[in-house]
Protein backbone atom coordinates (compact mmCIF):
# COMPACT_ATOMS: atom_id res chain seq x y z
CA UNK A 1 0.00 0.00 0.00
CA UNK A 2 2.73 2.45 0.91
CA UNK A 3 4.54 1.53 -2.29
CA UNK A 4 1.42 2.36 -4.29
CA UNK A 5 1.07 5.69 -2.52
CA UNK A 6 4.73 6.48 -3.09
CA UNK A 7 4.30 5.82 -6.80
CA UNK A 8 1.19 8.02 -6.87
CA UNK A 9 3.01 10.95 -5.22
CA UNK A 10 5.96 10.46 -7.56
CA UNK A 11 3.56 10.68 -10.49
CA UNK A 12 2.08 13.92 -9.10
CA UNK A 13 5.55 15.47 -8.70
CA UNK A 14 6.68 14.31 -12.14
CA UNK A 15 3.51 15.75 -13.63
CA UNK A 16 4.38 19.11 -12.06
CA UNK A 17 7.91 18.93 -13.45
CA UNK A 18 6.52 18.09 -16.88
CA UNK A 19 4.17 21.07 -16.78
CA UNK A 20 7.03 23.38 -15.79
CA UNK A 21 9.06 22.04 -18.72
CA UNK A 22 6.12 22.62 -21.06
CA UNK A 23 5.72 26.20 -19.89
CA UNK A 24 9.44 26.76 -20.48
CA UNK A 25 9.05 25.39 -24.02
CA UNK A 26 6.04 27.67 -24.39
CA UNK A 27 8.16 30.71 -23.51
CA UNK A 28 10.58 29.80 -26.29
CA UNK A 29 8.03 28.86 -28.94
CA UNK A 30 5.21 31.37 -28.63
CA UNK A 31 5.49 34.56 -30.69
CA UNK A 32 4.84 37.58 -28.43
CA UNK A 33 4.70 38.74 -24.81
CA UNK A 34 1.01 38.13 -24.32
CA UNK A 35 0.89 34.57 -25.60
CA UNK A 36 4.04 33.74 -23.63
CA UNK A 37 2.31 35.14 -20.60
CA UNK A 38 -0.49 32.66 -21.17
CA UNK A 39 1.97 29.78 -20.97
CA UNK A 40 3.72 31.10 -17.87
CA UNK A 41 0.76 32.20 -15.78
CA UNK A 42 -1.08 28.91 -16.24
CA UNK A 43 1.30 26.02 -16.71
CA UNK A 44 3.92 27.23 -14.27
CA UNK A 45 1.24 27.79 -11.63
CA UNK A 46 -0.22 24.32 -11.86
CA UNK A 47 3.26 22.82 -12.19
CA UNK A 48 4.55 24.32 -8.97
CA UNK A 49 1.23 23.62 -7.26
CA UNK A 50 1.36 19.93 -8.06
CA UNK A 51 5.00 19.67 -6.99
CA UNK A 52 4.05 21.26 -3.66
CA UNK A 53 1.01 19.00 -3.34
CA UNK A 54 3.08 15.87 -4.00
CA UNK A 55 5.68 16.93 -1.42
CA UNK A 56 3.02 17.72 1.15
CA UNK A 57 1.23 14.42 0.66
CA UNK A 58 4.48 12.44 0.77
CA UNK A 59 5.58 13.90 4.10
CA UNK A 60 2.05 13.71 5.51
CA UNK A 61 1.14 10.14 4.56
CA UNK A 62 4.52 8.37 4.53
CA UNK A 63 6.47 10.23 7.20
CA UNK A 64 3.50 11.29 9.33
CA UNK A 65 4.66 14.93 9.46
CA UNK A 66 2.11 17.57 8.50
CA UNK A 67 3.59 20.85 7.36
CA UNK A 68 0.94 23.55 7.08
CA UNK A 69 3.41 25.99 5.51
CA UNK A 70 3.26 24.05 2.26
CA UNK A 71 -0.51 24.54 2.18
CA UNK A 72 0.02 28.26 2.83
CA UNK A 73 2.46 28.42 -0.07
CA UNK A 74 -0.15 26.65 -2.17
CA UNK A 75 -2.79 29.29 -1.38
CA UNK A 76 -0.45 32.26 -1.81
CA UNK A 77 0.76 31.02 -5.18
CA UNK A 78 -2.79 30.43 -6.32
CA UNK A 79 -3.76 33.98 -5.37
CA UNK A 80 -0.72 35.84 -6.65
CA UNK A 81 0.33 34.25 -9.92
CA UNK A 82 -2.70 35.31 -12.03
CA UNK A 83 -2.30 38.84 -10.67
CA UNK A 84 1.35 38.80 -11.67
CA UNK A 85 0.43 37.63 -15.17
CA UNK A 86 -2.14 40.41 -15.45
CA UNK A 87 0.28 43.09 -14.24
CA UNK A 88 3.08 42.02 -16.59
CA UNK A 89 0.83 42.00 -19.65
CA UNK A 90 -0.71 45.34 -18.63
CA UNK A 91 2.71 46.92 -18.21
CA UNK A 92 3.73 45.50 -21.58
CA UNK A 93 0.65 46.97 -23.23
CA UNK A 94 1.10 50.36 -21.62
CA UNK A 95 4.72 50.55 -22.78
CA UNK A 96 3.46 49.82 -26.33
CA UNK A 97 4.84 46.35 -26.86
CA UNK A 98 3.23 45.31 -30.16
CA UNK A 99 0.93 42.34 -30.53
CA UNK A 100 1.90 39.52 -32.83
CA UNK A 101 1.21 40.45 -36.47
CA UNK A 102 -1.33 37.64 -36.89
CA UNK A 103 -3.49 39.10 -34.10
CA UNK A 104 -6.98 39.66 -35.38
CA UNK A 105 -8.51 42.29 -33.16
CA UNK A 106 -7.49 44.90 -30.59
CA UNK A 107 -10.30 46.53 -28.65
CA UNK A 108 -7.95 48.06 -26.13
CA UNK A 109 -6.48 50.39 -28.77
CA UNK A 110 -9.63 52.50 -28.75
CA UNK A 111 -9.49 52.86 -25.02
CA UNK A 112 -5.84 53.91 -25.07
CA UNK A 113 -6.62 56.57 -27.70
CA UNK A 114 -9.59 58.01 -25.83
CA UNK A 115 -7.68 58.36 -22.57
CA UNK A 116 -4.79 59.99 -24.40
CA UNK A 117 -7.24 62.51 -25.86
CA UNK A 118 -8.47 63.31 -22.37
CA UNK A 119 -4.95 63.91 -21.12
CA UNK A 120 -4.13 66.30 -23.98
CA UNK A 121 -7.32 68.26 -23.33
Amino acid sequence: MTEMLKILFAVIILFGALLSLLSAIGIIRLPDVYTRNHAVSKSATLGVLSILLGTFLYFWVIEGYMNARVILGFVFLFLTSPVAGHLISRAAYNSKVPLWEKSTQDDLKNKARSTKGKVSQ
Partner: protein
Amino acid sequence: MLLQIVLNIFIAFSWMFISNSYEFGSFFGGYLIGLLLILVLRRSFSHRFYLLNVWAVIKLILIFFRELILSNYAIMKVVVKPNLDIKPGIFALPTELEKDWEIMVLSNLITLTPGTLVVDISDDRKLLYIHAMDLQDIDEAIESIKNTFEKAILEVSR
Protein backbone atom coordinates in the same frame (compact mmCIF):
# COMPACT_ATOMS: atom_id res chain seq x y z
CA MET B 1 -23.83 37.33 6.52
CA LEU B 2 -21.11 38.33 8.98
CA LEU B 3 -23.79 39.14 11.56
CA GLN B 4 -25.16 35.61 11.31
CA ILE B 5 -21.71 34.03 11.74
CA VAL B 6 -20.94 36.18 14.78
CA LEU B 7 -24.34 35.37 16.25
CA ASN B 8 -23.76 31.68 15.66
CA ILE B 9 -20.42 31.78 17.47
CA PHE B 10 -22.06 33.73 20.29
CA ILE B 11 -24.74 31.03 20.62
CA ALA B 12 -22.02 28.37 20.66
CA PHE B 13 -20.23 30.16 23.52
CA SER B 14 -23.51 30.53 25.40
CA TRP B 15 -24.05 26.80 25.02
CA MET B 16 -20.59 26.19 26.47
CA PHE B 17 -21.41 28.37 29.46
CA ILE B 18 -24.82 26.73 29.95
CA SER B 19 -23.47 23.20 29.87
CA ASN B 20 -20.38 24.30 31.85
CA SER B 21 -17.92 22.29 29.76
CA TYR B 22 -15.18 24.12 27.89
CA GLU B 23 -14.06 21.76 25.17
CA PHE B 24 -14.15 21.69 21.42
CA GLY B 25 -16.92 19.09 21.47
CA SER B 26 -19.35 21.29 23.35
CA PHE B 27 -18.43 24.28 21.16
CA PHE B 28 -19.27 22.20 18.12
CA GLY B 29 -22.57 21.06 19.64
CA GLY B 30 -23.45 24.65 20.48
CA TYR B 31 -22.53 25.69 16.94
CA LEU B 32 -24.91 23.12 15.49
CA ILE B 33 -27.69 24.29 17.82
CA GLY B 34 -27.01 27.89 16.79
CA LEU B 35 -27.16 26.86 13.15
CA LEU B 36 -30.57 25.30 13.76
CA LEU B 37 -31.79 28.43 15.57
CA ILE B 38 -30.62 30.71 12.77
CA LEU B 39 -32.25 28.43 10.22
CA VAL B 40 -35.54 28.69 12.10
CA LEU B 41 -35.24 32.47 12.53
CA ARG B 42 -33.90 33.20 9.01
CA ARG B 43 -36.94 35.36 8.20
CA SER B 44 -35.78 38.02 10.66
CA PHE B 45 -32.40 38.61 8.96
CA SER B 46 -31.96 40.92 6.03
CA HIS B 47 -29.66 38.46 4.23
CA ARG B 48 -30.38 34.87 3.39
CA PHE B 49 -29.29 31.89 5.49
CA TYR B 50 -25.50 32.04 5.45
CA LEU B 51 -24.75 28.37 4.77
CA LEU B 52 -25.94 29.03 1.22
CA ASN B 53 -23.16 31.61 0.84
CA VAL B 54 -20.63 29.16 2.26
CA TRP B 55 -21.79 26.57 -0.24
CA ALA B 56 -21.46 29.12 -3.07
CA VAL B 57 -17.86 29.82 -2.01
CA ILE B 58 -17.05 26.11 -2.06
CA LYS B 59 -18.57 25.83 -5.52
CA LEU B 60 -16.46 28.78 -6.70
CA ILE B 61 -13.27 27.12 -5.41
CA LEU B 62 -14.16 23.91 -7.24
CA ILE B 63 -14.73 25.89 -10.45
CA PHE B 64 -11.31 27.52 -9.90
CA PHE B 65 -9.56 24.15 -9.79
CA ARG B 66 -11.47 22.72 -12.73
CA GLU B 67 -10.65 25.74 -14.89
CA LEU B 68 -6.98 25.62 -13.92
CA ILE B 69 -6.66 22.03 -15.08
CA LEU B 70 -8.64 22.63 -18.29
CA SER B 71 -6.57 25.71 -19.16
CA ASN B 72 -3.35 23.79 -18.67
CA TYR B 73 -4.59 21.14 -21.06
CA ALA B 74 -5.43 23.81 -23.65
CA ILE B 75 -2.04 25.52 -23.31
CA MET B 76 -0.28 22.20 -23.50
CA LYS B 77 -2.03 21.43 -26.77
CA VAL B 78 -0.99 24.76 -28.30
CA VAL B 79 2.63 24.47 -27.16
CA VAL B 80 3.16 20.89 -28.30
CA LYS B 81 1.40 21.25 -31.67
CA PRO B 82 3.98 21.49 -34.46
CA ASN B 83 2.41 24.36 -36.43
CA LEU B 84 1.34 27.54 -34.69
CA ASP B 85 -2.12 28.23 -36.12
CA ILE B 86 -3.45 30.47 -33.36
CA LYS B 87 -5.12 33.85 -33.81
CA PRO B 88 -4.55 35.93 -30.69
CA GLY B 89 -6.34 39.20 -30.03
CA ILE B 90 -7.76 41.51 -27.40
CA PHE B 91 -11.52 41.79 -26.92
CA ALA B 92 -13.65 43.77 -24.49
CA LEU B 93 -16.05 42.02 -22.15
CA PRO B 94 -18.81 44.02 -20.44
CA THR B 95 -19.33 43.01 -16.81
CA GLU B 96 -22.17 43.67 -14.41
CA LEU B 97 -20.14 43.16 -11.25
CA GLU B 98 -19.70 46.30 -9.18
CA LYS B 99 -17.69 45.68 -6.02
CA ASP B 100 -13.93 45.71 -6.32
CA TRP B 101 -13.36 42.26 -4.83
CA GLU B 102 -15.90 40.74 -7.20
CA ILE B 103 -14.07 42.16 -10.21
CA MET B 104 -10.79 40.92 -8.72
CA VAL B 105 -12.11 37.37 -8.33
CA LEU B 106 -13.62 37.45 -11.82
CA SER B 107 -10.39 38.58 -13.45
CA ASN B 108 -8.40 35.97 -11.52
CA LEU B 109 -10.80 33.32 -12.75
CA ILE B 110 -10.59 34.63 -16.32
CA THR B 111 -6.80 34.58 -16.18
CA LEU B 112 -6.92 30.93 -15.18
CA THR B 113 -9.49 30.04 -17.86
CA PRO B 114 -8.35 28.29 -21.03
CA GLY B 115 -6.73 30.78 -23.38
CA THR B 116 -7.69 34.10 -21.81
CA LEU B 117 -5.72 36.68 -19.86
CA VAL B 118 -6.96 39.98 -18.45
CA VAL B 119 -4.86 42.85 -19.81
CA ASP B 120 -6.71 45.89 -18.54
CA ILE B 121 -9.84 47.07 -16.80
CA SER B 122 -11.57 50.24 -17.99
CA ASP B 123 -11.63 53.22 -15.65
CA ASP B 124 -15.34 53.00 -14.92
CA ARG B 125 -15.02 49.25 -14.22
CA LYS B 126 -17.60 48.30 -16.81
CA LEU B 127 -15.29 46.61 -19.33
CA LEU B 128 -12.61 43.98 -18.97
CA TYR B 129 -10.03 43.91 -21.77
CA ILE B 130 -9.05 40.29 -22.31
CA HIS B 131 -6.25 38.88 -24.41
CA ALA B 132 -7.37 35.61 -25.97
CA MET B 133 -5.00 32.99 -27.26
CA ASP B 134 -7.25 31.82 -30.08
CA LEU B 135 -10.03 34.23 -30.88
CA GLN B 136 -11.92 32.59 -33.71
CA ASP B 137 -13.19 29.39 -32.18
CA ILE B 138 -13.37 30.26 -28.49
CA ASP B 139 -15.07 33.64 -28.57
CA GLU B 140 -18.58 32.46 -27.91
CA ALA B 141 -17.64 29.53 -25.70
CA ILE B 142 -15.72 31.98 -23.54
CA GLU B 143 -18.72 34.25 -23.25
CA SER B 144 -20.73 31.36 -21.88
CA ILE B 145 -17.97 30.51 -19.40
CA LYS B 146 -17.96 34.11 -18.28
CA ASN B 147 -21.67 33.90 -17.67
CA THR B 148 -21.22 30.90 -15.40
CA PHE B 149 -18.38 32.66 -13.54
CA GLU B 150 -20.30 35.88 -13.13
CA LYS B 151 -23.31 33.93 -11.94
CA ALA B 152 -21.23 32.02 -9.41
CA ILE B 153 -19.67 35.22 -8.06
CA LEU B 154 -23.03 36.98 -7.85
CA GLU B 155 -24.31 33.94 -5.99
CA VAL B 156 -21.56 34.38 -3.39
CA SER B 157 -22.21 38.07 -2.78
CA ARG B 158 -26.00 37.85 -2.78
